[in-house]
Amino acid sequence: MSFPWANEYTPSHPVMKWVDEKLPLPRFVYNAVGAGYPVPRNLNYFWNFGVLAGFCLVLQIVTGVILAMHYAPNALVAFDSTEHIMRDVNWGWMLRYAHANGASAFFVVVYLHIFRGFFFGSYKAPREMIWLLGVVIFLLMMATAFMGYVLPWGQMSFWGAKVITGLFGAIPVIGEPLQIWLLGGYAPDNASLNRFFSLHFLLPFVIAAVVILHIWALHIPGSSNPTGVEVKTESDTVPFHPYYTAKDGFGLGVFLILYCAMLFFLPNALGHPDNYIPANPMSTPAHIVPEWYFWPFYAILRAFTADFLFFPAKLMGVLAMFSAILVWFFLPWLDNSPVRSGHFRPLFRKFFYVLMLDVLVLGYCGGAPAAEPYVMISQIATAYYFLHFLVILPIVSSIEKPEPLPYSITEAVLGSDDKAALKPAS
C-alpha cells in the first residue's frame, strides 16, 4: 500500500466482490502476498528463506497437532507413546520424522534468513521493527524447540531439560528457587513434562502471531533488496504475484527435495542416539549435547570456564549465552553505516565472512565433547563473536569508505535508468 503504483484489488467474480465489501480479507491477502504488493525486482535467492520459514512453521504446526493426537504427556508413558506413534499409528513414523526433521529444517532456513539480514543490512532503518520482531520470533523458536525436544522423554530430553533449567540456577539469589519453580520439582519429572507439552503446543501459535506482526511491519517500508538502495519508481518493482510466487514456488520445490531426502533416508542423522534410551534420572549420558541448532550458543555457554572479577564462571556462561542473542536487538544501532548492503561495504564484508566462519566453528565446538582443544577454540571464537557485534561493527561502520551505489534498482538490473540522467547521482 505504501507505493502509489501498487495494483488495486478488483474482484473479478460477484461472490468475491460481495465478500470483499463485507470483509476485505481477499483484498488484504492480495495486498500482502498477491499482485498488490510491489517488491524490488532484483531480489536474489536469499530472499526465498522468509517464505520458506513461514512454510516450516505451518509444517510444524500441522504435524505437531497431529502428533499431539497420539502422544501422551506423562512421564510414565511418554517414551512408549512416542514409540507407539513410530510403530502402530498409520504413517506415524513419517509424521514424527517430519516433525523432528522439520524443526531442523526450520532452523536451517531461519539461520539463512538471519544471515541474509546480517549481510544485506536488512536491520537498518526504516526496517528496525521488522528485525526486532524477527529476533523475538527466533527466541520463541528456541524455547519451543527446546521444550519439544523434551517431550519424547529420552535420555537427551531429560538431561537437556535438567541442564537448560540449570542455567536459571546460575542467577544469584533467586536462581535455585526459580529453577525448582520452572521444573515443578527438584528434577525434571511429570510436572515439568506436562508444562513443557502445554507450552510447546501454545508457543507456535504465539510465533504465528508475531510472524503476522513481522510481515505487517515489512509491508510498511516494503522489502529490502540486494543493493540496499530504496525503491524509487515503479520500474524498480514487480508485483509479488506472479513474479515472486513463481520464484518462491521453485525455491519451495528445492527445499522439499532436500527436506524429504533427510526425512525418508537419513531421519536420525541430526538426532542423538541417546534419545532412543528412555529417560533415566540416575544415569547421565557420557556426552550431553543439545540439538545441532543450539550448538553455537552452547559453545559460548561452555567457553566461560574461569571466574572473572565477581562473576562466577557459571553465571558468566549464562550471561554470555543470552547476550549472544540479545545483542542482535541492538544491531540496528550498533551498525550505523548509511549503506545497507554488504556488496558495497568492502571492510564490513570481510568481517562478515569471518563471522560466518566463526559461528560455524562455534557450532562445531558446541557439538564436540567439553575437552581440549575444543574448549580453547570455542573461547577464541566466542571472543570474536562479541568483538564482531559490539566492537568491530560500530568501528567499521564509522571508518569504512563504501563503494559507489547504483542510482536505482532499475539501473542495477538493467545497467541504466532513464531517470538517472535527470537527477545527480547519489
Binding site: 503504483w5 495494483n7 478488483t10 473479478s12 499482485a35 500441522v62 497431529i66 493426537m69 497420539h70 507407539h84 510403530r87 502402530d88 499409528v89 498409520n90 504413517w91 506415524g92 513419517m94 509424521l95 515503479e234 520500474s235 518493482t237 514487480v238 508485483p239 504475484h241 506472479p242 514456488g249 538493467l414 532513464d418
Partner: protein
C-alpha cells in the same frame, strides 16, 4: 496474471511471440500449479489416515471366549473392540417365544435362525450396544430389567428387545447387531 497490466516495463525484452508462445506459457503454469495441487492432495492421505485405528487397536479386534460355564437362561457380558458383547444361552422357552413372532410384526425382520449359527441355535451373541444411540442395554446381568419382551431393555430411551435381541418397542431402528463370530470348538467362540 491479468492484474499485471500496470507493470509495463521500459525494457521488455521482446514482444510476446505469437499464439504458440502464449499457449506454451499457459501450459507450463497450469502444469506447475496442477503438480502442486496433486502433491498437496497426496499429502492429505497420511494426515487423514493417521486418525484411523492404529495397528495395535486393529490387532485387538478379535476376542476368544470360553462359553462352557454359561448355563441355559444365563448371559455374560464380554468385551469386543472395547465394547460390550452379550453372549446368551437361550432356554428352549425363549427360542420358542422368538420363533413364534411373525416377521411382519418386526421393525427389522430377521428370524432367530438368521441371528445364530447352525448347530448352536441356543447361543445368541450380539453387541451390547443399543442401535438407537449406543447405550448399553440391561438384561445380560442376573436380575436386570429385561423389558416387556424378555430380552434386553435400554434404560436411556426405553428400547425393548425380545429374546432374539430384536427391536420390538422404543426408538431404536435396528436389532442388536450380531458381530462376526465363529465356533472354534463347542465351547470356544471367536468373535471378530
Amino acid at each position: 496474471m491479468a492484474e499485471n497490466t500496470g507493470t509495463a516495463d521500459m525494457q521488455t525484452v521482446a514482444a510476446e511471440a505469437g499464439d504458440d508462445g502464449v499457449r506454451r506459457r499457459d501450459f507450463i503454469n497450469i502444469a506447475a500449479v496442477a503438480a502442486a495441487g496433486v502433491g498437496g492432495i497426496a499429502t492429505l492421505v497420511p494426515l487423514i489416515s493417521q486418525m484411523a485405528p492404529s495397528a495395535d487397536v486393529l490387532a485387538e479386534s478379535s476376542t476368544e471366549l470360553d462359553i462352557s460355564a454359561i448355563q441355559p437362561g444365563q448371559a455374560i457380558k464380554a468385551v469386543f473392540r472395547k465394547q460390550p458383547v452379550f453372549v446368551r444361552n437361550l432356554t428352549t422357552k425363549e427360542i420358542a417365544e422368538a420363533d413364534a413372532v411373525p416377521l411382519s410384526e418386526l421393525r427389522d425382520p430377521q428370524t432367530l435362525a438368521e441371528r445364530t449359527k447352525e448347530g448352536h441355535e441356543n447361543w445368541l451373541i450380539t453387541m451390547g450396544v443399543c442401535t438407537h444411540l449406543g447405550c448399553v442395554p440391561l438384561g445380560a446381568g442376573e436380575g436386570e430389567n429385561r423389558g416387556e419382551f424378555g430380552g434386553y431393555f435400554c434404560p436411556c430411551h426405553g428400547s425393548s428387545y425380545d429374546t432374539a435381541a430384536r427391536i420390538r418397542k422404543g426408538p431404536a431402528p435396528k436389532n442388536l447387531e450380531v458381530p462376526p463370530y465363529e465356533f472354534t470348538s463347542d465351547t470356544v467362540v471367536k468373535i471378530g
